[in-house]
Structure formats: C-alpha cells, structure tokens
Amino acid sequence: MVTRYGGIVVAAIVLVLAGCASPASREGMALQSPVFGKQFPYSIRVQTSGGSETSALDTINISDSDLKAAIEDAVVQSKLFKSVVQGKDGSDYELNVRVIYFSKPIFGGTLTVEFETAWSLIKVGDRSVVMRKSVKSSGTVTMSEAFAFVTRARLAVEAAARENIRQGLKAISELDL
C-alpha cells in the first residue's frame, strides 16, 4: 500500500515538474537591440506559415503570429526597413518565412533544438524573388539555466528562433535592394 501511494506521489511530482507545454513567446523570440548595419528606404510586409499553436497536451510549438511579431519587432528595432506594413497592400517588399522543421524536445537534461525556416523576399513591384534561403539554427539550454523541463524546452526553442531570425535578417541586410 505504501509503495502504491509512493508511486502516485512520485508520478504527481513528475507531472508538476513537467507541467504543460507552453508555446515559444513573441518576447522570448525577440532579438535584443538588433543591428544589421543597413537601413533600406523601403516598406516590408511579413508573412509566416508552417507554425502551429500549442495546446495544453501538445508538445511545444511556434505559432505563426508570434514568429511574425518577433520578426517585425526585429525589423522595426534595427530599422532594417523604413516601415512594416500590415495588410495586403502598400509594401515595397514581401517577406515570407515558412517553418520547415524544429526538433521538439521530449526529455533530457541539456536541450538542443534544431530549427529550419525558408525565407523568401519578393519585390512587390514586379513580383521578382530577390532572396530564397534556407536558414538553419539551433538553441541550447542547460539544466542550470532552467530546472523545469517545459521552461527549458521553451527557452531552447526561443533561442533557436532568435538565432534564426538574426541569421535571416542578416542575409537580407547583405542584399543590394
């Protein structure tokens, strides 16, 4: 009987420590003071796809809206483009970022998340594709940084996403638009 209750207590502790999956947040994916060394005098519209929402019983995901917001924040903060346009009309360039893959951590101590996105930049005027690039990044978080698994997993995903956004915008900044 004692053993049975002990098992239930251990299971309860594991559930509490594991918790429910929480999605990668816009704030967590935001770049801190991004600088790309170039400022294009054009407006841009950002679209994202391939992400998904995180439900309570699901593994961690990145939502399209949060990824879009994080990219837009980085563009605005770095002043890489003159302005970010919402809606379908009125932008000089259109940036499409599609989530291709990210490794969803299931368990482990030090978590490393691999992340790949497909970036394409289109000049709206003539619909020409000025950049198509596969951007691969990773993020690692150790147990000393976050003890709870769900927090560690979220931080690793956010770190991978931040690095991905940084690489993608850096590639755009190297273009001659």
Partner: protein, 104 residues
C-alpha cells in the same frame, strides 16, 4: 528526385520514401553521396524514434529541396505518440500524401 540518405539511418527510411515517391510516377534514386547534377529535387528527411515497449517512429519530416540552393520547396511532417503510433511505411505514406495535397 534524389532521396539523400542519412548515413546513420540503419532503418533505411530513404528506401521507403523512394518507393512511395515512385508510386507517384517520380523517377527516384537514393544514396548517401551528394546528388548528381541533373536531378530536379533533393529529398531530405529527419526521423525521430522513441521507446515504449518497442521502438516506434515518433516524428518524420520530409523536405523537398532545390538541388542548387538547398531551399525547401515543400515539406511535410507527421507526429504520432505511442498511442497512435504508425509503422514507418505508414508514416512515410502520410507525410508524402500531405506534401502532395499541399501542392495542389
């Protein structure tokens, strides 16, 4: 198309993918070497396995890429935990069918 085998893949998922693509009328070769220059697309995959009484494929992502730039042209993913587990062949079928549905 050329299905690029992951060198560590002892389960030969590349062969399942190649077979499935052949049923779609695609001419497919596969191997670990870099693709020859005349292929129209390179197919890469990432398979993740878990243990629950027996090993099962937890997740499969297949990506069809431009052979020159590595840019992902199309991708598909399947994620099944132990309760809804599928065989590797079924996972491949599901992902490839999803890619073709998305392309229409």
């Amino acid at each position: 198309m050329y299905v690029k085998k992951i060198p560590e893949d002892g389960r030969e998922i590349n062969l399942l993918i190649a077979d499935k693509l052949r049923t779609k009328g695609v001419t497919v070769t596969t191997g670990t070497e870099p693709p020859v220059s005349n292929v129209d697309a390179v197919v890469t995959y990432i398979d993740k396995w878990m243990w629950d009484i027996t090993m099962y494929m937890l997740e499969l992502t297949i990506t069809i890429r431009d052979p020159k730039t590595d840019f992902p042209i199309a991708t598909g993913n399947s994620f099944h935990t132990s309760l809804t587990r599928l065989s590797p062949k079924e996972m491949v079928n599901e992902v490839v069918e999803n890619i073709y549905k998305g392309a229409k």
